[in-house]
Symmetry: C3
Subunit: 175 residues, 3 copies
């Protein structure tokens, strides 16, 4: 089974070309380090519009068969931050443990980590995870939650993902 991973950068300014999308690039670089299996990225750069975010998530899952969709941006308390709301609307099941762990990890660096509303959930056969906006925080969060990602994708009927054990220690419990 092919491994497609969706990367959605959600940012009014980056989508208008005001600055370069370093966050999406950071995610792709990190996943290239993690994954031993062949994989393909499906990339989208969109503004902080809830309907566009939801439509993009559904398209990446339904049409592009992405088993994993990661977002960056739009998880704060500002009026335009609506990524968690979009994620909750799209997902059939929420996975609160992802947000809890990512906030806990980020709290080791900045007390404002509690302002992040990051979450994760399942839409059909796709795992959707909200990551922070900044490249450094993205890596910290991915390092914390990724060990559980391949097994989660097994459980929802996705492809078997193999990782570079010297970079990230993936865990699959014996059933």
């Amino acid at each position: 089974m092919k491994i497609n991973i969706g990367i959605i950068t959600i940012s009014d300014r980056a989508s208008q070309g005001v600055y370069e999308d370093l966050s999406g690039k950071a995610i792709i670089d990190t996943l290239n380090e993690y994954l031993k299996s062949d994989w393909e990225s499906v990339y989208a750069l969109i503004p902080d519009e809830q309907k566009i975010i939801e439509d993009t998530m559904r398209k990446l899952a339904d049409e592009d068969n992405c088993s994993l969709i990661v977002t960056t941006g739009g998880t704060g308390p500002a009026p335009r931050d609506v990524t968690p709301e979009a994620t909750q609307n799209v997902c059939e099941k929420m996975l609160p443990g992802f947000g809890e762990l990512m906030r806990q990890v980020s709290l080791q660096y900045v007390p404002t980590a509690i302002l992040s509303r990051q979450t994760a959930g399942i839409y059909k056969k796709s795992l959707i995870i909200n990551l922070p906006g900044k490249p450094k925080s993205i890596r910290e969060c991915l390092d914390a939650v990724f060990p559980a990602v391949p097994y989660c994708i097994d459980l929802i009927g996705g492809p078997y993902i193999e990782c570079n054990e010297d970079v990230i220690k993936v865990f699959r419990p014996k059933s």
Copy 2:
């Protein structure tokens, strides 16, 4: 007041007799160790069907007067895992601190603990708690949250539960 505790094992395969329900047994054994007060278990073994789970929770609370109802199974991200959704539908108040603490405790053992969607809540005069599926994790989670359970049941008008202090240290704040 009599202490009735409901134990619901939620598992398609165990309910079909494919394997023995060791999880329900582990809960009963643990509660027998914890409780000094006399108590009676009301046991149900049911498939991962949301309506059946909800009906069983309501029956154990309304007809069997269970002040505490613990479930095991059905809290993961797989399509058939619907225990948290059933719990949320039945409960009038959610208690997110239970799920947070149980995931935190389980994270000390396995990184896949973030996939658990365990929660807890109040339905009328019953405290409902989702536990993990595996006997070893059940014990780890109960050891973490049970110190708060008797006081919670005091607050919702249930019976006064006394525990074996050498096994589990129950806490009741002085009001």
Copy 3:
């Protein structure tokens, strides 16, 4: 811009005059220690009635221009505890990180911290935070979350709050 902060004590008994509201006083004392900027408190003492709580939150935000509204009381599992439900009804965005961190901090003192259902969220240009009922726990929780509060209020378009750095270390990330 003027800094108005709403303090809502939610307690059937205190609002009936059965006992003095030490909790509201503890919040005001703590904020006086924290804030270097001039600020004004808008105080309300109300019973555990969901509609009254919601109306009071909206009034403090809409009419009294409070950028920060803190509540005390009504976050437990008892039948009359409805502060989190009122907060969720009023807020457009929830900030789960506040509740997670406050429960984690309180857990260092009492295992019953998991019974607290404290949350926080954004209503228009106001940050609403539920604090515990007891003065000692109020201080512990404020010490934990307040470092992120001024930046949150920046993000939602509120006044710039300056604090006494020797009392509380506020953090504003460089954007």
